[in-house]
């Protein structure tokens, strides 16, 4: 196993963890966090592809590396917008829950939403 394969597997596991967190965690902030994990997994896969493309005296294929830099900056902007939406909703309604009041959410969540 070489470095590319090791980080390839790490990238796949990161995407998996992110997808799991995105589905399971009820809080929007945790979903943003999980989505960042998925994004990092994709970036890592991209970096592995860049690493394998080393040649012509370069340590890696510069085109995917440049794309990665762009991607990291854009993902920060997306996270900032998501956090902004969350905080505004919290300021307006005092809640940050995604469960709608008449949502057929699992038992506990429902009672909790109604109690509020």
């Amino acid at each position: 196993m070489n470095v590319s394969q090791l980080f390839g597997l790490t990238a796949a596991a990161l995407v998996g963890l992110g997808v799991y967190g995105l589905i399971v965690n009820p809080q929007p902030l945790r979903k943003v966090l999980a989505f960042n994990l998925t994004g990092n997994g994709v970036f890592l896969a991209c970096a592995v592809i860049a690493h394998r493309g080393a040649g012509a005296g370069m340590s890696g294929d510069p085109v995917p590396q440049a794309l990665l830099i762009t991607a990291i900056v854009v993902s920060f902007a997306a996270s900032a917008l998501a956090v902004g939406l969350m905080l505004r909703r919290f300021a307006e309604t005092g809640t940050n829950s995604l469960a709608a009041a008449d949502d057929a959410a699992p038992g506990e969540a429902r009672t909790n939403a109604e109690a509020r």
Partner: protein, 314 residues
Amino acid sequence: MISAISVGIGILLLALALWTVVVRDTFAAVAGFIPYGLLLTLAWLVLRAVDVALTEAAIGAGLTGALLIRAASRLHPTETAAQAETPGLATRVAAGVAATAVAVVIALCLLRLPDPAPTLAPEVARHIQATGVGNPITAVLLSFRAIDTLLEAIVLLFGVVGVWSLAPDRCWGGRPGLAQAVGPNDILVYLARVLPPIGVVIGIYIFWVGADHPGGKFQGATVIAAMWLLVMMSGLRDAPPVSRRWLRAVLILGPAVFIALGLLGAVMAGAFLAYPDGWAKLWIIIIEAALLPSLAVTLVLLLIGPPQRPEVSP
């Protein structure tokens, strides 16, 4: 060959990622995300992507971490309500199966990448002379794929517009963020007086050296943005009201210069964003120099959020 340090980085990365997903407390999850970002920086270094490592350390770990920590502490009152919403076992098992399936498919794809790997490195090496810059990544960002960088700058601008549009009506045109109350003898105030001159020089150096070595405008802009944030957090200078004309001028300076030179290229060299022969280096420097302040201000404004305090009329 594979070194022990690479294996260690991989295992620690996954352990911290798992922590951010499964830990109950949101603040603890975000606190795990920051060392995770720094480990990811090491992973980029192992993969010899130094420019990406710099960006990750500055933006991925630094700014995103700061953004999420702030949000986690503000949203702390919703914590107990949210924990009661944790889905049942069936949902969790189904999510686990779905996530595993996705991960396995990606792993199989990444293990069966074609050999020899397709690469554009020789193409870049062949044409880099024409751009006059020595760092191939800068050449890709500002010349071969300049349209990507232009669109990215515009996406960031839209991000700021999006964040600002979340301002309550009565606060529109006011100052973003909450007023900071820090004692005048606080260590933060001391750092905010001492660090910015050094930080700004380092930021400009990272930007300038990016032409030939790892570095560039994104990384440099983040260091400058961090210095401004430090001054704001210490309360030495308040955030500017978003209605300020100079603020908006700086915001659009980078993209505007980029588009203007792109159109000039259409006239002089026959294609949008094409550089006339012999002028490439100068044009790249002009575009980067215009983008640097725009990016720094954009990153700060994205981080501190929408206006929240109406401006007191003088």
